[in-house]
Protein backbone atom coordinates (compact mmCIF):
# COMPACT_ATOMS: atom_id res chain seq x y z
CA UNK A 1 0.00 0.00 0.00
CA UNK A 2 2.92 2.34 -0.55
CA UNK A 3 2.99 5.08 -3.12
CA UNK A 4 5.65 7.14 -4.81
CA UNK A 5 5.60 10.05 -2.36
CA UNK A 6 6.70 7.85 0.57
CA UNK A 7 9.87 6.81 -1.24
CA UNK A 8 10.56 10.38 -2.35
CA UNK A 9 10.28 11.59 1.26
CA UNK A 10 12.68 8.88 2.53
CA UNK A 11 15.12 9.83 -0.23
CA UNK A 12 14.85 13.52 0.74
CA UNK A 13 15.57 12.71 4.40
CA UNK A 14 18.65 10.71 3.39
CA UNK A 15 19.92 13.59 1.23
CA UNK A 16 19.46 16.00 4.14
CA UNK A 17 21.41 13.68 6.46
CA UNK A 18 24.18 13.41 3.86
CA UNK A 19 24.43 17.19 3.46
CA UNK A 20 24.58 17.55 7.25
CA UNK A 21 27.49 15.09 7.34
CA UNK A 22 29.35 16.88 4.55
CA UNK A 23 28.94 20.25 6.28
CA UNK A 24 29.77 19.25 9.86
CA UNK A 25 32.24 16.36 9.67
CA UNK A 26 35.93 17.01 9.12
CA UNK A 27 37.02 13.38 9.06
CA UNK A 28 37.62 12.41 5.42
CA UNK A 29 36.19 8.89 5.85
CA UNK A 30 33.00 10.31 7.38
CA UNK A 31 32.66 12.70 4.44
CA UNK A 32 32.92 9.65 2.16
CA UNK A 33 30.09 8.05 4.19
CA UNK A 34 27.96 11.15 3.58
CA UNK A 35 28.62 11.01 -0.17
CA UNK A 36 27.60 7.36 -0.18
CA UNK A 37 24.34 8.17 1.61
CA UNK A 38 23.51 10.90 -0.94
CA UNK A 39 24.31 8.61 -3.90
CA UNK A 40 22.06 5.91 -2.44
CA UNK A 41 19.22 8.39 -1.99
CA UNK A 42 19.55 9.31 -5.67
CA UNK A 43 19.48 5.62 -6.67
CA UNK A 44 16.38 5.08 -4.56
CA UNK A 45 14.64 7.96 -6.35
CA UNK A 46 15.61 6.58 -9.77
CA UNK A 47 14.22 3.13 -8.98
CA UNK A 48 11.07 4.58 -7.38
CA UNK A 49 10.21 6.63 -10.45
CA UNK A 50 11.11 3.68 -12.66
CA UNK A 51 8.52 1.63 -10.73
CA UNK A 52 5.91 4.35 -10.91
CA UNK A 53 6.03 5.06 -14.63
CA UNK A 54 6.74 1.98 -15.18
CA UNK A 55 9.90 2.17 -17.28
CA UNK A 56 12.97 -0.09 -17.13
CA UNK A 57 15.44 2.67 -18.05
CA UNK A 58 15.41 4.06 -14.52
CA UNK A 59 16.66 0.75 -13.17
CA UNK A 60 19.36 0.58 -15.85
CA UNK A 61 20.64 4.03 -14.88
CA UNK A 62 20.53 3.02 -11.21
CA UNK A 63 22.70 0.00 -11.99
CA UNK A 64 25.24 2.21 -13.79
CA UNK A 65 25.17 4.64 -10.88
CA UNK A 66 25.91 1.88 -8.34
CA UNK A 67 28.89 0.68 -10.36
CA UNK A 68 30.28 4.22 -10.75
CA UNK A 69 29.85 4.82 -7.00
CA UNK A 70 31.95 1.71 -6.31
CA UNK A 71 34.74 3.09 -8.51
CA UNK A 72 34.48 6.45 -6.73
CA UNK A 73 34.85 4.78 -3.33
CA UNK A 74 37.96 2.91 -4.49
CA UNK A 75 39.65 6.13 -5.63
CA UNK A 76 38.47 8.07 -2.57
CA UNK A 77 39.87 5.50 -0.15
CA UNK A 78 43.15 5.46 -2.09
CA UNK A 79 43.36 9.25 -1.70
CA UNK A 80 42.60 8.98 2.02
CA UNK A 81 45.37 6.40 2.50
CA UNK A 82 47.86 8.64 0.64
CA UNK A 83 46.81 11.66 2.71
CA UNK A 84 47.18 9.65 5.90
CA UNK A 85 50.63 8.45 4.87
CA UNK A 86 51.79 11.99 4.08
CA UNK A 87 50.23 13.89 7.01
CA UNK A 88 49.45 11.16 9.61
CA UNK A 89 46.03 12.81 9.72
CA UNK A 90 42.72 12.45 7.89
CA UNK A 91 41.16 15.66 9.18
CA UNK A 92 40.41 17.61 6.00
CA UNK A 93 41.07 20.95 7.71
CA UNK A 94 44.64 19.85 8.43
CA UNK A 95 45.46 18.96 4.84
CA UNK A 96 46.43 22.47 3.86
CA UNK A 97 49.47 22.16 1.61
CA UNK A 98 47.32 23.03 -1.43
CA UNK A 99 45.70 26.00 0.25
CA UNK A 100 46.48 29.18 -1.70
Amino acid sequence: MSELLDFVIVSMVLVAIGIYGLVVKRNAIRMLFSIEIIVNAANLLLVAFSRGLPNAQGQVVALFSIAIAAAEVAVGLGLIIVAYRLYKEIDVAELRSMRG
Binding site: M1, S2, E3, L4, L5, D6, F7, V8, I9, V10, M12, L14, V15, A16, I17, I19, Y20, V23, V24, R26, N27, I29, R30, F33, E36, I37, N40, N43, L44, V47, A48, S50, R51, G52, P54, A56, Q59, V60, A62, L63, F64, I66, A67, I68, A69, A70, A71, E72, A74, V75, L77, G78, I80, I81, Y84, R85, E89, I90, D91, A93
Partner: protein
Protein backbone atom coordinates in the same frame (compact mmCIF):
# COMPACT_ATOMS: atom_id res chain seq x y z
CA UNK B 1 -0.81 5.41 4.27
CA UNK B 2 2.38 3.36 3.99
CA UNK B 3 2.47 -0.25 5.06
CA UNK B 4 4.33 -1.45 8.20
CA UNK B 5 7.14 -3.15 6.25
CA UNK B 6 7.90 0.13 4.48
CA UNK B 7 7.93 2.04 7.77
CA UNK B 8 10.23 -0.53 9.38
CA UNK B 9 12.71 -0.40 6.50
CA UNK B 10 12.55 3.42 6.45
CA UNK B 11 13.27 3.67 10.19
CA UNK B 12 16.14 1.16 9.86
CA UNK B 13 17.71 2.98 6.91
CA UNK B 14 17.44 6.52 8.26
CA UNK B 15 18.49 5.45 11.78
CA UNK B 16 21.59 3.59 10.65
CA UNK B 17 22.48 6.44 8.27
CA UNK B 18 22.47 8.83 11.25
CA UNK B 19 24.42 6.35 13.41
CA UNK B 20 27.03 5.92 10.68
CA UNK B 21 27.80 9.64 10.90
CA UNK B 22 27.49 10.02 14.65
CA UNK B 23 29.01 6.79 16.04
CA UNK B 24 32.06 7.58 18.17
CA UNK B 25 34.17 4.81 16.68
CA UNK B 26 34.58 4.84 12.94
CA UNK B 27 34.43 1.05 12.63
CA UNK B 28 30.89 1.00 14.06
CA UNK B 29 30.04 3.82 11.66
CA UNK B 30 31.25 1.68 8.74
CA UNK B 31 29.21 -1.31 9.88
CA UNK B 32 26.06 0.77 10.31
CA UNK B 33 26.62 2.31 6.86
CA UNK B 34 26.58 -1.26 5.51
CA UNK B 35 23.26 -1.83 7.30
CA UNK B 36 21.87 1.38 5.76
CA UNK B 37 22.89 0.06 2.32
CA UNK B 38 21.02 -3.16 3.14
CA UNK B 39 17.98 -1.03 3.98
CA UNK B 40 18.21 0.65 0.57
CA UNK B 41 18.33 -2.84 -0.98
CA UNK B 42 15.15 -3.60 0.99
CA UNK B 43 13.52 -0.54 -0.58
CA UNK B 44 14.50 -1.85 -4.01
CA UNK B 45 12.82 -5.16 -3.15
CA UNK B 46 9.70 -3.26 -2.06
CA UNK B 47 9.80 -1.47 -5.43
CA UNK B 48 9.76 -4.84 -7.28
CA UNK B 49 13.33 -4.40 -8.51
CA UNK B 50 15.03 -7.60 -7.27
CA UNK B 51 17.86 -7.37 -9.79
CA UNK B 52 18.89 -3.89 -8.63
CA UNK B 53 18.54 -5.05 -5.00
CA UNK B 54 20.91 -7.98 -5.56
CA UNK B 55 23.35 -5.70 -7.37
CA UNK B 56 23.17 -3.24 -4.48
CA UNK B 57 23.90 -5.98 -1.93
CA UNK B 58 26.76 -7.41 -4.00
CA UNK B 59 28.42 -4.07 -4.70
CA UNK B 60 27.71 -2.00 -1.60
CA UNK B 61 27.53 -4.51 1.24
CA UNK B 62 29.92 -6.97 -0.40
CA UNK B 63 32.58 -4.67 -1.83
CA UNK B 64 32.29 -1.06 -0.69
CA UNK B 65 31.58 -1.74 2.99
CA UNK B 66 34.41 -4.27 3.23
CA UNK B 67 36.78 -1.84 1.50
CA UNK B 68 35.83 0.93 3.95
CA UNK B 69 36.26 -1.36 6.95
CA UNK B 70 39.74 -2.36 5.73
CA UNK B 71 40.71 1.29 5.29
CA UNK B 72 39.44 2.14 8.76
CA UNK B 73 41.61 -0.65 10.13
CA UNK B 74 44.65 0.56 8.15
CA UNK B 75 44.41 4.13 9.39
CA UNK B 76 45.78 4.46 12.90
CA UNK B 77 42.93 4.53 15.37
CA UNK B 78 44.32 7.42 17.37
CA UNK B 79 43.82 9.79 14.44
CA UNK B 80 40.15 8.81 14.33
CA UNK B 81 39.33 9.61 17.93
CA UNK B 82 40.36 13.25 17.74
CA UNK B 83 37.04 14.89 16.95
CA UNK B 84 37.72 18.57 16.49
CA UNK B 85 34.26 19.77 15.52
CA UNK B 86 32.90 22.71 17.43
CA UNK B 87 29.39 22.89 18.81
CA UNK B 88 28.50 25.97 16.77
CA UNK B 89 29.32 24.25 13.50
CA UNK B 90 27.30 21.21 14.48
CA UNK B 91 24.29 23.34 15.43
CA UNK B 92 24.50 25.16 12.11
CA UNK B 93 24.67 21.82 10.30
CA UNK B 94 21.59 20.51 12.06
CA UNK B 95 19.75 23.77 11.30
CA UNK B 96 20.73 23.47 7.63
CA UNK B 97 19.51 19.87 7.58
CA UNK B 98 16.16 20.84 9.10
CA UNK B 99 15.77 23.75 6.66
CA UNK B 100 16.44 21.46 3.69
CA UNK B 101 14.06 18.83 5.05
CA UNK B 102 11.20 21.21 5.79
CA UNK B 103 11.46 23.23 2.58
CA UNK B 104 11.82 20.20 0.32
CA UNK B 105 9.11 18.41 2.27
CA UNK B 106 6.69 21.31 1.91
CA UNK B 107 7.53 21.48 -1.79
CA UNK B 108 6.86 17.75 -2.23
CA UNK B 109 3.62 17.73 -0.25
CA UNK B 110 2.19 20.61 -2.28
CA UNK B 111 3.57 19.39 -5.62
CA UNK B 112 0.66 17.11 -6.43
CA UNK B 113 3.03 14.12 -6.56
CA UNK B 114 0.88 12.34 -4.01
CA UNK B 115 -1.24 9.73 -5.77
CA UNK B 116 0.33 10.66 -9.10
CA UNK B 117 1.15 7.11 -10.13
CA UNK B 118 -1.44 5.48 -7.91
CA UNK B 119 -0.81 2.51 -5.68
CA UNK B 120 2.31 0.59 -6.63
CA UNK B 121 0.71 -2.78 -5.96
CA UNK B 122 -1.96 -2.26 -8.59
CA UNK B 123 0.28 -1.28 -11.52
CA UNK B 124 2.45 -3.85 -13.36
CA UNK B 125 6.11 -4.14 -12.36
CA UNK B 126 9.10 -3.75 -14.68
CA UNK B 127 10.14 -7.10 -16.09
CA UNK B 128 13.86 -7.50 -15.55
CA UNK B 129 14.50 -9.25 -18.84
CA UNK B 130 13.77 -5.79 -20.22
CA UNK B 131 16.73 -4.42 -18.21
CA UNK B 132 19.11 -6.93 -19.76
CA UNK B 133 17.79 -6.17 -23.21
CA UNK B 134 18.22 -2.42 -22.73
CA UNK B 135 21.74 -2.88 -21.34
CA UNK B 136 22.87 -4.91 -24.32
CA UNK B 137 21.20 -2.81 -27.02
CA UNK B 138 20.55 0.86 -26.31
CA UNK B 139 22.97 1.22 -23.39
CA UNK B 140 25.72 -1.04 -24.82
CA UNK B 141 28.22 1.82 -25.42
CA UNK B 142 27.59 3.09 -21.89
CA UNK B 143 28.21 -0.42 -20.55
CA UNK B 144 31.57 -0.62 -22.33
CA UNK B 145 32.59 2.82 -21.08
CA UNK B 146 31.50 1.80 -17.58
CA UNK B 147 33.79 -1.23 -17.76
CA UNK B 148 36.72 0.92 -18.87
CA UNK B 149 35.97 3.45 -16.12
CA UNK B 150 35.96 0.71 -13.48
CA UNK B 151 39.25 -0.71 -14.76
CA UNK B 152 40.78 2.78 -14.85
CA UNK B 153 39.64 3.61 -11.34
CA UNK B 154 40.96 0.34 -9.92
CA UNK B 155 44.35 0.97 -11.55
CA UNK B 156 44.28 4.56 -10.29
CA UNK B 157 43.51 3.43 -6.74
CA UNK B 158 46.34 0.90 -6.87
CA UNK B 159 48.75 3.53 -8.23
CA UNK B 160 47.70 5.98 -5.51
CA UNK B 161 48.08 3.55 -2.63
CA UNK B 162 51.37 2.05 -3.87
CA UNK B 163 54.49 2.69 -1.79
CA UNK B 164 57.35 3.45 -4.13
CA UNK B 165 60.44 3.40 -1.96
CA UNK B 166 59.50 0.85 0.63
CA UNK B 167 63.09 -0.40 1.13
CA UNK B 168 64.40 3.11 1.85
CA UNK B 169 61.57 3.80 4.28
CA UNK B 170 62.34 0.65 6.21
CA UNK B 171 66.00 1.59 6.34
CA UNK B 172 65.14 5.02 7.69
CA UNK B 173 62.87 3.50 10.28
CA UNK B 174 65.64 1.13 11.38
CA UNK B 175 68.08 4.01 11.70
CA UNK B 176 65.59 6.01 13.71
CA UNK B 177 65.03 3.08 16.01
CA UNK B 178 68.78 2.59 16.48
CA UNK B 179 69.20 6.28 17.21
CA UNK B 180 66.35 6.09 19.70
CA UNK B 181 67.96 3.11 21.45
CA UNK B 182 71.31 4.89 21.62
CA UNK B 183 69.82 7.97 23.25
CA UNK B 184 67.82 6.07 25.87
Amino acid sequence: MADPVFIAVAVLTVGTAIISLEARELIYGAISLAIAMLGIAGFFLLLDAPFVAMFQIAVYVGAVAVLIIFTVMLVRTQALFTTKEDKKRKGAGIALMLIIMSSLGALLLTSGLSGQFGDFNSSPAVNFTEIGELMLTYYAPALIILGLTLAGSVIAALALARRENIAEEEQEEDEEQRHHERTT
